[in-house]
């Protein structure tokens, strides 16, 4: 049952094939069994069971709240959750229990979803590996998959398998791992430069970054306000559309959300491919791109073409400036956003009380890791009066050029862009940490980050396994606020590629009850 998609399990709940409490208990048990993944920072067991109980009552009365009622979900630990510790994987917020729910969290709860817990991330979402938080790195469930282990056995003999575990990507690695390892059916991530799509690609799940302004950021502890978007991680595109339908819409608490009413995102099945135009941005063909990803990318383009879609090469000429531009804008906003963490109102406070200034300094030194402090320092440098014009203002201009690149391409008749999500499949942690966070982020955000500059919707869809048995995802980028069209194309693609299900038997001692194909449902649900 846990291996199913959200839509399938929702149907099973409605048919009474499983109860919310059963589902909740199974997920909780699996969370415990997969503890080694370090996907969760906080497991909200009591809350989830209570929610399950309520949900069960509703189902018994026939008053289900909808598709999400009784569905276990997880939330990245940078979303404010009332009464549940919200840490951002930082010493600064260790022990901080917010008094309010982020709008997206509230919307999930209002639909009857069960909150299993808060997922791990890089400190304040600054990173691309989910390796740089105070609770330690998240391990990619595929490290323990049958598919990967068999390939490894062929190559290396006698090495300690456990030391070769893979990173999840990030910064929403905990959410991606949680969905990938079947501990929940959907998870919230956040996406500022690719933080939802990158781990989704590495963990073999769907990662959606909605259009900026479509989903409320109220309660999302910000990284870069002008680029942050709550992300959605699910096992299939339809599930992402269901969750987006619930989260999307104007929020009076977030002035940057759209005013226009939003319709539910039901996805039609694409039949007439001839009307579809897929753009392949030539600048995304970089030397760093692994040959395997490159060949899958071409394969995907060929697939669209062979099914009748128009596939054309397009140019996004300012792509190469994206990373450096992002660096200036991101660190500047970080410097500003992090200013509130001074130890006075909430969060960590040092023992020093010589003076207010000394208290600030020690609190922030103790509270933030090197990555956060480094970005604060850079950002403040860019915002200095003497530097503002030369850095911040220029970066804003470049940002506009990057956004215009996309507009031009979409105006030329392209419906959706097809690109890689990542340079390669997930790498072992030992290899990943050879480079510092900044270098890694710059490399790993290459294909995802420009989208945030332009506020466009994008989704990473797993396509196939690499020769090492690891997932590779491709990214689709859509027109602003054409999230439904984007997902429709992604859904068609997903159906064509039939990405394999992760086989996690080796990780779990008692897997039979979880992964066996339950006779009850399989026939009727498809």
């Amino acid at each position: 049952m846990l291996g199913r998609t959200l839509r399938e399990v929702s149907e099973a709940l409605k048919q009474g094939l499983v109860t919310p409490t059963e589902l909740c208990q199974r997920c909780l048990s699996l969370i415990k069994k997969t503890k080694i993944l370090n996907a969760y920072i906080t497991v909200s067991e009591e809350v989830a069971l209570k929610q399950a109980e309520e949900s069960e009552k509703r189902y018994k009365k026939g008053h289900s709240l909808g598709d999400l009622d009784g569905i276990p979900v997880a939330v990245k630990d940078n979303f404010s959750t009332a009464g549940i510790e919200t840490t951002c994987a930082s010493n600064m917020l260790k022990g901080y229990v917010p008094p309010y729910n982020a709008t997206v969290v509230q919307k999930l709860l209002d639909q009857g979803a069960l909150l299993m817990g808060k997922t791990n991330l890089d400190e304040f979402a600054m990173g691309s590996g989910s390796t740089d938080g105070i609770f330690g790195p998240v391990k990619n469930p595929w490290s323990y998959s049958k598919q990967y282990r068999e390939k490894r056995k062929q190559k290396s003999h006698g090495e300690n398998e456990d030391s070769h575990w893979l990173i999840t990507g990030g910064s929403s690695g905990g959410s991606a791992a949680a969905v990938s390892a079947f501990t929940c059916f959907a998870a919230l991530g956040s996406d500022t430069g690719g933080s939802t799509r990158n781990p989704a690609a590495h963990c073999g799940v769907v990662g959606l970054k909605p259009s900026y302004g479509l989903v409320s950021r109220h309660g999302l502890i910000p990284l870069v306000n002008s680029m942050d978007v709550p992300g959605i991680l699910t096992r299939c595109v339809d599930d992402a559309a269901i969750v987006l339908g619930i989260l999307a819409g104007h929020d009076p608490k977030d002035s940057t959300t759209i005013q226009d009413p939003v319709k539910p995102f039901t996805l039609p099945s694409l039949t007439d491919m001839s009307k579809l135009c897929i753009g392949i941005p030539k600048e995304y063909l970089t030397p760093e791109l692994s040959s395997e990803v490159q060949s899958l990318w071409s394969k995907a383009a060929n697939l669209f073409e062979s099914e009748g879609a128009k596939v054309i090469e397009v140019s996004l000429p300012h792509t190469s400036y994206s990373i450096v531009c992002y660096h200036v804008l991101c660190t500047s906003e970080v410097a500003s956003n992090m200013a509130r963490f001074d130890g006075l109102e909430y969060g960590h406070r040092c023992d020093t009380d010589v003076s207010t200034e000394a208290m600030y300094a020690a609190t922030r030194r103790e509270g933030f890791n090197d990555v956060v402090r480094g970005r604060i320092l850079s950002g403040n440098f860019f915002l200095l009066k003497e530097n503002y014009e030369n850095y911040f203002v220029k970066a804003q201009k470049v940002r506009r050029l990057i956004a215009r690149d996309f507009v031009n391409v979409f105006n030329s008749g392209v419906d959706v862009l097809l690109t890689p999500t990542t340079l390669s499949e997930a790498v072992p942690h030992t290899e990943f940490i050879r480079e510092d966070n900044r270098t890694r982020s710059a490399q790993d955000d290459l294909f995802t980050q420009a989208v945030n500059m332009a506020g466009l919707p994008a989704v990473s869809v797993p396509m196939a396994l690499s020769s090492q048995g690891l997932p590779i995802g491709l990214q689709f980028i859509g027109r602003a606020f054409c999230d439904q069209q984007l997902l429709t194309v992604a859904k068609w693609f997903e159906k064509q590629v039939q990405f394999p299900v992760i086989q996690l038997q080796e990780l779990m001692d008692d897997c039979s009850s979880i992964f066996e194909n339950e006779k009850l449902a399989s026939a009727s649900l498809k």
Binding site: P98, Q259, A335, D342, E345, L384, K385
Partner: protein, 516 residues
Amino acid sequence: MATPILRWCCPGRRWVFAGIGSVSRHGRGVPTGSTSSGKRGQSSVAQQPLITAQKPRKGEREWAAVVGLEIHAQIASNSKLFSGSQVDFAAPPNSLVSFFDASLPGTLPVLNRRCVEAAVMTGLALDCHINRRSLFDRKHYFYADLPAGYQITQQRLPIAVNGSLVYSVCVGKRQSQMVTKTAGVKQIQLEQDSGKSLHDSLRSQTLVDLNRAEGQLRVDANISVHNPGEPLGVRTEVKNLNSARFLAKAIDYEIQRQINELENGGKILNETRSFDYKLGCTVPMRDKEGKQDYRFMPEPNLPPLLLYDSGSLPTGTDPQQVINIDQLREQLPELPRVTREKLVQQYGMLPEHSFALLNEVGLLEFFQNVIKETRAEPKKVTSWVLNTFLGFLKQQNLAVSESPVTPSALAELLDLLDRKAISSSAAKQVFQELWRSKGKTPAQIVAEKKLELMQDAEVLEQLCRSTLEAHPQVVTDVKKGNPRAINKLIGLVRRATLGRADPTVIKEVLERQLSS
């Protein structure tokens, strides 16, 4: 410009409008930057010694002062600029703090419509250009009562710019001459307030109140002096002035201090100073952080603030979602300048009287109500309202609304005076009585106190005759041509009539009797 030190009297939500100071010769720093070398009105009386002190001591050097003001005014709104929390002066500390006000992570600002409307109306009243598109910025500094580490303001593109305020000041020996001046308004900006720090030196701790609704007006004055024709001098900023009187004192003091400093070969430092209310002087503030770089940055959580007029209003928009400048213009009350002009035109009033009528809350309305009900000349009414009535109010420190004398009562009193039923001195007595015993009408008081003018000519003739007879020496003086002597006789007759006879009538009778 504002440093975080001593941000203790900031209003709950405020806008700042910065007046551009123009040059003031001989150092008369009129607050809004006037070119006058004259006096500033009421508050300048106390400054008289300073004016003499400002005369160039070495004879040949002439000084000009430039003054610019940053005025922080709290907007009268029910909730805060960026949150739904209420605004209430008397609320206990930290009782009106939303999650946003406490800067909890993940909270976002939401702009208060009422505050925008108030800013637009102020912009219109001050003849500003209203920007159809304005932006919000973050201004960063660390301070205990600034929980976000930044303040949201409108640094780059504020809601209104380039306005002016025309005002008048009294000049001349007896402050009787009005001079009209214009102060430029550089910009009006919406700005979030910081909290309030309360320093408890006994326990060496600081308490922070995030209610942020304290004090309705606060001014920072930027002041420099220079020799005319030369570049402007280095300016100092005197912060946190919260009354017009102290503002004037601080500016006068600072101008003189700078002149003295420079004439003695010293230098002016670009520093922030505070005004010591007790000593009447400015002192440098302990600026611990040294030079501040506020690292301004666009506020990413607030989209550009767009304003429309009836012409540019997009069709089919929800009126709740847009702000129409033209509509606000219609709602604008008559501006004081227009009201004053009307008063001068309609009643032939002196300009300074029109100012006096508008400077007291409710006084104009009181005046107009008296005018409506009396046949007395407007000049008479003006004089009574501004001298007698206002004098009584001031003496007892009362507001117009607290006055025991109603407009109708004063109108009736003035009618009695107008038809010469009572003398003006009797009228004063009646007024006093009205003030003391609420509920009595002037007519009742006149009757009770027998204050009506003597209408019986025969009685008056009789009284005059006996007065002349009783004072032969004065009569001799009159006849010798002493012009004052007749007044003495008039006074004696008036006393004999208990003040109930009109002095002009007495004079007529006396003169007739003397010449016969």
